[in-house]
Symmetry: C2
Subunit: 188 residues, 2 copies
């Protein structure tokens, strides 16, 4: 279930690699048999927004796998050269055609079994405009009572939205930290 | 100044790569000329602890580059299969021989020009024991008045400790978010 790609060859010199524990290290890495380059594999950050307009939340219906056809908040892999908030705003523009402002970190989810960390910001739409990007079948603003709970794409989104609506009632939005574990295998 | 390694060859099949914008993408990636694998490069998470014991803060004197000989809080690259807090605790054990508990996210620093995101937790030592690991020349507990401010290794550490001592006086530790920009080139 990892999104990591197997490293068979050195990306620097093209020689084969061997999986071994380098000197002064304590876990196996793909080490080049020729130039010695160590190919580290580290978790990736996914950044996105719980974006609000007129009390409603911006959701995207996914046009891509995984979870094609299900609803999520705009989010995606953070890119080089940007901050976490810039990445979250960029993803909101790319997937939902919406400009956001007043970004505040709201939810941090560890997903250790797939090497991902989600960082979701809460934010406001700047002008209420939105439009489906290439990765979305549809984009819509949902009132709390209209959220398609049974058609949400990810446990992170369900958890974050549940907490968001709770916190909004109290007016207190502290950072929430959670860990998503793999679903248990079905009994047979 | 990026810590990224140039991708010249496909890590999956060993063929050469070309830097181009894949279909349905908007930025150049290293794409394999043979098997088409796209080699994404994303920011890395560095996790660590501002760990306290008897009011003092645990600092490590670096035995490795960069900033050999300067002081920092225990922190390092997050590894696959762990949560951010587990990574921060692991680094504190590896670099400072100290067990920590009660980890709470405290400071998030973007360092876009080198593709890094720092996430520092505040924590307490479990039993007050510590010992220099292989990446540390020395480990010590410093009172606020004794912190070696002029010998700190990183701007993130200086910033986080300054805020930490401020917040400790008020008793209110909200998550702090900051961005570290490159130092301006010296005038000549």
């Amino acid at each position: 279930m990892s999104n990591a790609q197997a490293v068979n060859y050195c990306s620097k010199c093209g020689a084969t690699v061997t999986r071994r524990i380098p000197a002064d290290d304590n876990r196996p890495r793909a080490v080049c048999d020729s130039c010695g380059t160590i190919h580290y594999e580290n978790p990736k950050l996914i950044v996105g927004c719980i974006a609000e307009w007129d009390g409603k939340i911006l959701l995207c219906r996914r046009a891509i796998e995984p979870r094609h056809g299900l609803w999520t908040v705009p989010a995606g892999f953070m890119e080089m050269g940007e901050t976490t908030a810039q990445g979250a705003a960029r993803e909101t523009m790319e997937e939902a055609g919406a400009q956001v402002e007043n970004l505040e970190p709201y939810a941090l989810y560890n997903i250790p079994h797939i090497g991902q960390v989600y960082l979701l910001f809460r934010a406001q739409l700047t002008d209420g405009r939105f439009a489906a990007g290439t990765e979305s079948l549809d984009v819509a603003l949902y009132d709390e009572t209209q959220i398609p709970w049974s058609e949400l794409a990810f446990a992170t989104v369900r958890n974050a939205l549940t907490r968001y609506f709770h916190d909004r009632k109290t007016g207190h939005f502290a950072l929430h930290v959670g860990t998503i574990e793999p679903l248990p295998k079905p009994a047979r």
